[in-house]
């Protein structure tokens, strides 16, 4: 019964949104009545409220184990802790779409109600948001109904959540990511409303600035958590795989990063307005594209949901319509958008816009990497895959150029040109230092990889130039933008540690019998396989190995496991990780061979922790930026 009520509430919300749209389109031909906005907003608030209540009831259904609902029966289980019963809602397509809509309505209702009562763009923004929410509501209710019942009788026990999803990091990774993706709907709708409205005297940057910054924080956290989960849970020993679905999350991230930079320039010095708008529209369009890629099953990946062409067509049609609507009005308005001022070459905004171009280039390259296999397949029928070599080669030069611009722009001023002499002064110290350190790394490791050294050098350029700045600030009291400095130090650190990781990390595959001890290399001098046992747990069997290794003169005990989940028959691997500040020892147990010995994969991963730290720094930098604005 509760399921039916929740279903009905969602339907009612959709109907209310339709009413808002019809009502406003119909009456916009006459003179706009003063109460029209008040009424629309009231209806909109009610629609959002209905969505929230409906989702709340859905959570209740999941907690109370209502297995007569197909979705809950196939993704939850009465044995699960309550926490995972709730998170099982977003472990597959229907429920996660529902969550997506809840966030969409959440952002929208907060934003609309924070605007002034008679804000000139309020009505159009409301219409745009209603249209987008309605599109997703209909998608949910028509093609992927989470309320569907198993008729005539439900089942007694649910099928269990996919065990690799039973992890705290993963439970919060989708919500964070969605909050980020969806948060940019505000910039998107507001900019579209601005363009439709056609009054270009209005100031719009301030209204959406912080909303976009917060969305960016969620997106960054979401992507990092996903990467963290892949490293700890999937047992592949890597943190980024250039998987199509990771790529479709990275594209909006790059676009939003470019957008924020450009937003600074356009609010500081009134340039790059058209650019900023274009980026604002692009971010959400890319989010929609991501939703399409993941949910149409067009690309096989760990993330993709079941293949369903009907869903794919709907999403494609709808995303296409929304994006084209925005792009169309933008193209139409371009002539009236040109900023009165030109960007001064050598000023801060000139470097900023160069980096925007680089970020657009990266987005385009990733887009090409994602679609190229599809293009080839549709032309010749061959299956090709685009992997890390493509992305590494593309990104190394982009990162190098971007880092040089970041280094110079640290000392550049808004609207004023920087002399060549100043540029060389700024660049001198970081370049020399970075070159020396890069050479030291090369000398110490003896490994050469041109791409990795480009990454190391680029990272160091950013790091050293900000260190120079920090020292100047401490001793000479020169101004430093704290938020920006911390975020960019995070970025430099990321380039540096990722490249270091790629040259230093290595993997050994061992084939070893019980009670045997082998020497692996100079660092791991002894590896002994002490014990293996089978443990029965409530919903899975565990094969647990005990391995002791002697590493760098210290004894370390490792317990890699393999779990077999009874309900699903799925086998997962629990790697044993011994993490230190510098490196992780990552051990995974493989299969038993015919002679009774077992295979192990021993990975030594360098600087993994620093990857998470660097993205935490970027988030921290952003938080400081938001905070500082509020106080000033």
């Amino acid at each position: 019964m509760i399921g039916e009520i929740a279903h009905f509430l969602s339907l009612s919300a959709a109907v209310l949104l339709i009413l808002i749209l019809i009502f406003n389109v119909f009456f916009s031909f006459n003179k706009i009545h003063s109460n029209q906005l008040t009424l629309s907003l009231r209806l909109f608030n009610q629609a959002c409220f209905l969505v929230f209540v409906s989702f709340g009831m859905y959570i209740y259904l999941a907690i109370s184990d209502d297995f007569s609902i197909v979705y809950i029966a196939s993704h939850s289980n009465s044995q699960l802790p309550v926490f995972y019963k709730v998170t099982s809602i977003w472990s597959a397509h229907e429920g996660s779409m529902f969550l997506w809509i809840v966030f969409l309505t959440g952002w929208s209702i907060l934003f609309l109600n924070s605007l002034n009562k008679n804000h000139p763009l309020k009505r159009l923004t409301l219409l745009m948001l209603s249209l987008i929410i309605l599109g997703f509501m209909l998608f949910l209710l028509i093609t992927s109904n989470p309320f569907e019942r198993i008729l005539p009788f439900g089942v007694i026990e649910g099928a269990d959540i996919n065990p690799i999803l039973q992890d705290p990091a993963l439970a919060i990774h989708p919500p964070m990511l969605y909050l980020g993706y969806v948060g940019f709907v505000i910039a998107f709708s507001y900019i579209t409303a601005y363009l439709f409205n056609g009054d270009f005297e209005l100031q719009w940057e301030q209204d959406i600035k912080n909303w976009s910054f917060v969305a960016w924080i969620f997106l960054t956290i979401g992507i990092t958590l996903g990467s963290w989960w892949a490293y700890y849970e999937l047992g592949w020993g890597g943190y980024w795989f250039w998987d199509p679905v990771e790529n479709v999350a990275l594209m909006p991230w790059l676009a939003s990063t470019a957008f924020m930079h450009s937003l600074f320039a356009s609010s500081k010095s009134n340039v790059l307005k058209a650019w900023t708008m274009f980026l604002g529209i692009l971010i959400f369009s890319l989010s929609l594209f991501g939703a399409f890629i993941v949910r149409s099953g067009i690309i096989d990946s760990v993330h993709s949901f079941a293949n369903d062409p009907e869903r794919g067509l709907y999403l494609l049609g709808f995303s296409g319509f929304i994006s084209l609507l925005a792009m169309g009005i933008f193209a139409y308005r371009i002539p009236s958008l040109n900023s009165s001022k030109l960007v001064v070459i050598g000023s801060k905004e000139s470097f900023l816009s160069m980096n925007n171009i680089l970020m657009i280039t990266s987005i385009f390259s990733i887009f090409l990497g994602v679609t190229y296999p599809l293009i080839i397949e549709s032309i010749s029928g061959d299956k090709v895959s685009i992997g890390p070599p493509y992305y590494n080669t593309i990104f190394a030069p982009i990162i190098l150029i971007a880092s040089i611009f970041i280094m110079i722009s640290v000392d550049a001023a808004w609207q004023r040109s920087m002399s060549l002499r100043n540029i060389s002064l700024t660049a001198a110290i970081p370049s020399v230092f970075s070159l020396i350190i890069t050479y030291v790394v090369w000398y110490a490791t003896g490994i050469f990889s041109i791409l990795a050294y480009i990454g190391i050098f680029s990272g160091l350029l950013i790091l050293t130039s900000y260190f120079v700045r920090v020292i100047n600030n401490l001793f000479n009291n020169r101004f430093i933008n704290k938020g920006s400095a911390i975020a960019h130090i995070g970025l430099g650190l990321l380039f540096f540690v990722v490249s270091m990781n790629s040259i230093l990390s290595y993997e050994k595959n061992l084939n070893i019998s019980l009670d045997q001890t082998v020497a692996v290399d100079e660092s791991v001098t002894a590896f002994s396989f002490d014990d293996i046992k089978v443990i029965k747990a409530s919903n899975h069997d565990i094969i647990s190995a005990e391995v002791s290794i002697r590493q760098d003169g210290k004894n370390v005990l490792l317990n890699p496991q393999k779990r077999k989940y009874i309900t699903r028959g799925q086998i997962t691997s629990e790697s044993a990780i011994q993490a230190t500040i510098l490196k992780d020892t990552y051990l995974t147990i493989g299969d038993q061979l015919e002679n009774g010995s077992w295979t192990f994969s021993l990975k030594i991963n360098y600087f993994i922790k620093w990857i998470w730290i660097s993205s935490a720094l970027m988030v921290l930098g952003m938080l400081i930026t938001i905070f500082k604005q509020k106080t000033s």
Partner: protein, 173 residues
């Protein structure tokens, strides 16, 4: 310059849209064409009633459905299989990683749409078939696997994947 830019902003998304629509529409048909049929692996096993069964038992057009009493989705698709068996379509069960007493009880409780169910407690035959879990459904024509569906089989998948192949093969023979 502006004109080119304006033109590009509109035309590029449209091209992307057209391309993906095309890929989506082709995709499904391609999958059927690209499925490489293979010979059903040899096996000698018992069914749930203890009778000897082998690959020879699978002549003609048969549906092989991988199921288990612990599998929820199997219960979801069960009514549909019953419908098929009422239309005299021969469905062979492959009881996967299950115990025979539970499996027989399950069939007694929910009805038995299978002409017989191969008993595969360790998943040996399932392994040879490349089964990743239950339920999965194979279309077999004279000992040759010509289609394979992972997950729930339903009216829509039946009509779009299996039915055309069955009609095709019946015409040929």
């Amino acid at each position: 310059m502006n004109l080119i830019f304006r033109f590009l902003i509109i035309i590029v998304p449209i091209l992307i849209l057209v391309f993906f629509t095309k890929v989506l529409l082709i995709d499904e048909d391609n999958k059927l064409i690209n499925f490489e049929s293979k010979i059903f692996p040899e096996f000698e096993m018992r069914d749930l009633n203890g009778n000897q069964v082998s690959a020879q038992s699978l002549s003609g057009i048969k549906i092989l459905n991988v199921w288990a009493s612990w599998c929820i989705t199997c219960l979801v698709e069960h009514p549909f299989l019953s419908q098929l068996s009422e239309k005299n379509i021969e469905i062979v069960g492959l009881n996967y990683k299950d115990t025979d007493s539970k499996a027989i009880a399950w069939l007694q409780k929910h009805g038995n749409p299978y002409i017989f169910s191969i008993y595969d407690p360790r998943g040996d035959l399932a392994f040879d078939l490349g089964v990743t879990g239950a339920p999965e459904t194979f279309l077999i024509f004279d000992n040759e696997i010509i289609a394979h569906v992972q997950g729930e089989i339903n009216q829509q998948k039946w009509e779009s994947i299996f039915l055309p192949l069955i009609n095709n093969n019946q015409d040929q023979s």
